[in-house]
Symmetry: C2
Subunit: 568 residues, 2 copies
């Protein structure tokens, strides 16, 4: 039997699945495991804290399809939980590897630090059960390879995080290497006997449709159908929209790509087209209040065909154990384009820079249109929960670029470490530093949650532009409730000093820190060579009004203003 | 029936119990609750993130006996869990109030943001069960007051955190105010029938002791016996030591207070005295590996009398349902001082500044002795896990001052927000800004975890001196394992820019930022008026060697060096 050390087995498996970087923080119970990271050919990204590491792993996983982070028992893993839960909520496969106390200490119920000194070693693992798709605990050399393979397969199948306990005395235990010759794959679902019937029904509905609406949501990634959707959108030429979560899964440069559908909060002609549609093909729906504009983007059953998880729903009939991928493949093969209606779609709404004057103060309404031309093919754009996520919804994305916005978990602070993760993943995918650019839009309140991770971006020499929207506090909370309340304020920071404090070269700092208050100033920054064609971390602080919001947020603000007027 | 709004009921209860400040972060599901904070006379401390808020609450609770923090459902509460677990591990009563979605949304299993969009609203509450002493959920006006009273009583009885769910539609629901007339108290235990017998046994052992050893550990706070211990130490005149956890519970200015007992890692004469003791009176033991120096401070049963929780242990006999407080009261009343041996204690070991030259580089060995004279009566000193916590163990504390060091949870990053919490509590207790001084010792690795909270210290205008021990990474991890490994490095930061970045007045920054590399430079800083008699947040960066450690850490380093030599 060929043998291999346990840690090498685990890391070989991760590398086979495309993981090239590992996030985390060293701690007493994971140091021996960390010894194996670099020798395995993995890049170790030491984060400033574990929550940031989990957020970064989530970002990395969204680009590369799998991510891993290492924390230490108790103090480390618990700090990461919010990030793991976010990956669960928004379908990122992340392997949370926890270095636990050596087996003898656990067996003897020894009162160790990082525990409650009561001999109970199961508490924290029990907590993670609620926020991971599967859990396992390596306890002996004989079963470890199977347990590792199981947990990795689960994270891929469910596209959700998993939890793996690895005791500190086990990294160099020898295990069988036999399994390594077979790759871990998502099992192909058996073809359902109902499939021909379902396919026929779908085709019939497609051929008879007069007002078709293609709607791509974010769980399409987990369904593995993004490439097939591209083919479908091209083959039909039918008008196509996305949710925020689905944005970036559709090539917005296609003539029939209409960008975001905002339901009751969007433009009237599109809403009318949606309501009068006789066929809404929805892929990978994720119907949280936020992602579905309070459920107003959900089509009525009579016109809907919905591909979700392992089910397909047509009218009120749900068909189980269906593979969306198989079904779409067969559909694309069978599709006769000549039988499709040429849909008369509503006009596109696009961001416009007309009517913006140089001396206008920067505002939500002019900022996003001005910034949009900065984006290049393949860029990654991240818009943090808050005004940025709302403003970034109508960006028109270049080919091959991705956008990550506020979907459902909406944990403020997430996007900054996630930017670190996506930028690193992008560099690995492109295998070329110069091509990569990642652009983050984040408010001053969110920034304060996780700001220290800027220092890791700097150390990793990543090409990132950070736009800090300084609107003096939690504007998104102000519009929900407590417009003038002090609890929605945040401490004053000098954001322009961030690159220096967080360790960038003095020369880099001076050339790559920008501030803008007017549209003229912003245009100048956006035209600066270090922004359009620079490298490393660049920082642009832009100032906006405390209550300057648009879209659905404006609706909330007006509701509150009306309540205030009533109370007077 | 007198009625009161639910939030007012809760906050009135908290104020009755001495809570004057509230920590937390606003979020969608707690904003309506936050409306009641300031009107209730509570000071709202908006933290930069929820983990920092939980850490700050823990610090506050250690001084004031109770603390509270408010987070929002899911994203907020999960970020706080590590801090709540730490409060559990180290016995701080903290009320974790979570603003949850309104009752109708929960009842309808609505797919809201900050959930997993699956209608399950119990996951996160179930996670907190593992790390809190009690949990409750406010669901209706009729039962809410009792549930609040119950949860508050539990946090006091167990001296551990509790979890309280408050739906967003309930803060202004009317409830009965009747209970408010009766204060919440820890119930007095019924006097045990065994008490006279136990007391007699203890007195007999005290009178016959020839080599007595009083040992005060940190759970004495939760037992409510700190004042009685002071009386006992004075009445007996017997040599008294503490653990790290117990440090600051004994007045170290008393002639018979010997400071810390470090077991096998301490000085030989004390160790011999301990081993040959015929009576070790131990109060509030907390026997984690770290707090007990790998269990070497635990007395052998034949000489031990141990007061722990609701039990007293004499030799191998455990007596249940005993009140340490009652027992000590009776003991103090009965005690005949003339019958006590005058113990011949080993010599005290004290920090010395002799032999320190001005051009010596700052090192662990000279730093703590030089800093010690800075402390004044009533100061609070916090030493973060790592070299600081080890170095600070031998500080001689002035009367009425407290020290918080690394006990068991050892979550790096904790001490900085905890400093915010203790400083605020200290100001409230003293009711006088000028008297208060809080001094933090923290390494550069730990600092990066939670550094943003410095901005809240600044905003709150707290009198805090922060010593940053810059030793280029996680030195404590280096000595445990991976001495030269890159995973124990941290990103480079310009610490001297912290006060400016985090928003202090330009003038304040210039006068209150210090750096020292030699003992001469350090002495100059320590003599500076702004350090000895200043105000606001002051920052001193001191540089030490990457592998410069002492005491138990030196033992670990030497063990690793020996292993390395062996492998060659």
């Amino acid at each position: 039997m060929t043998e291999i050390k346990l840690a090498d087995y685990l890391f070989t498996r991760l590398r086979q699945l495309g993981v090239d970087s590992m996030f985390g923080v060293p701690g007493d119970y994971n140091l021996r495991l960390l010894d194996f990271v670099t020798p395995a050919g993995l890049h170790w990204v030491g984060n400033c804290n574990e929550l940031n590491a989990a957020y970064a792993a989530d970002g990395y996983g969204r680009i590369k399809g799998l991510a891993a982070l290492i924390t230490t028992y108790g103090v480390g893993e618990l700090s990461a939980l919010n990030g793991i839960a976010g990956a669960y909520a928004e379908n990122t496969p992340v392997v949370h590897i926890v270095g636990t106390p050596p087996r003898p200490l656990q067996a003897n119920r020894t009162f160790m630090h990082h525990t409650f000194s009561d001999g109970d070693y199961r508490r924290f693992a029990n907590m993670s059960i609620h926020i991971t798709a599967a859990q396992t605990r390596l306890t002996d050399a004989a079963t470890a390879p199977e347990r590792i393979d199981y947990i990795l397969q689960q994270t891929l199948i469910h596209s959700r995080p998993v939890y793996l306990e690895l005791p500190d005395d086990m990294p160099d235990v020898k295990v069988s290497a036999a399994n390594l010759e077979t790759r871990i794959r998502i099992p192909e679902p058996p073809s359902s006997t109902q499939e021909p019937q379902v396919l026929a029904q779908i085709l019939e509905r497609i051929y008879s449709a007069q007002r078709p609406f293609i709607f791509v949501d974010g769980e399409s990634t987990a369904l593995g159908i993004v490439e097939q959707l591209d083919a479908l959108i091209k083959a039909t030429g039918w008008p196509t929209w996305t949710t925020v979560y689905g944005k970036g899964l559709v090539n917005e440069q296609l003539p029939n790509a209409h960008g975001l559908y905002a339901g009751a909060f969007g433009d009237k002609p599109t809403q009318t087209y949606f309501e009068e549609a006789d066929l809404v093909l929805t892929f990978g729906p994720h119907n949280s209040d936020t992602n579905s504009y309070f459920y107003t983007t959900i089509a009525k059953p009579s016109v809907a065909i919905t591909f979700s998880g392992t089910t397909v729903k047509i009218n009120n009939d749900t068909f189980y154990d269906m593979s969306a991928r198989n079904l779409l493949s067969n559909l694309l093969q069978s599709l006769d384009s000549t039988r499709l209606v040429k849909a008369s779609a509503p006009p596109k709404t696009e961001l416009s820079v007309a009517n913006i004057q140089d001396d206008d103060p920067i505002a939500q309404a002019n900022f996003y249109p001005l910034v949009n031309p900065l984006f290049r093919d393949g860029d990654i754009i991240l818009t943090e929960t808050g005004t940025a996520a709302h403003g970034g919804r109508n960006f028109k994305l270049p080919t091959g670029s991705r956008l990550f916005g506020a979907v459902t978990w909406l944990s403020i602070g997430f996007m900054l470490p996630a930017t670190l993760g996506t930028a690193l993943a992008q560099r690995e995918v492109n295998n070329d530093t110069s091509k990569s650019q990642t652009i983050l839009f984040i408010g001053d309140g969110s920034l304060q949650m996780t700001a220290q991770e800027i220092s890791v971006m700097i150390r990793e020499k990543l090409n990132i532009v950070i736009f800090i929207i300084n609107n003096d506090g939690y504007t998104i909370e102000r519009v929900i409730h407590g417009r003038k309340e002090k609890y929605n304020d945040v401490p004053f920071w000098r954001h322009a000093q961030a690159l220096s404090y967080f360790g960038a070269d003095e020369e880099h700092v001076a050339k790559n820190t920008f501030t803008a208050r007017t549209c003229g100033e912003l245009k100048e920054v956006l035209g600066h060579e270090n922004i359009t064609n620079g490298s490393g971390v660049r920082l642009v602080e832009v100032f906006m009004g405390r209550e300057d919001v648009q879209g659905a947020l404006l609706y909330l603000l007006n509701k509150q203003l009306a309540q205030e007027a009533e109370q007077k």
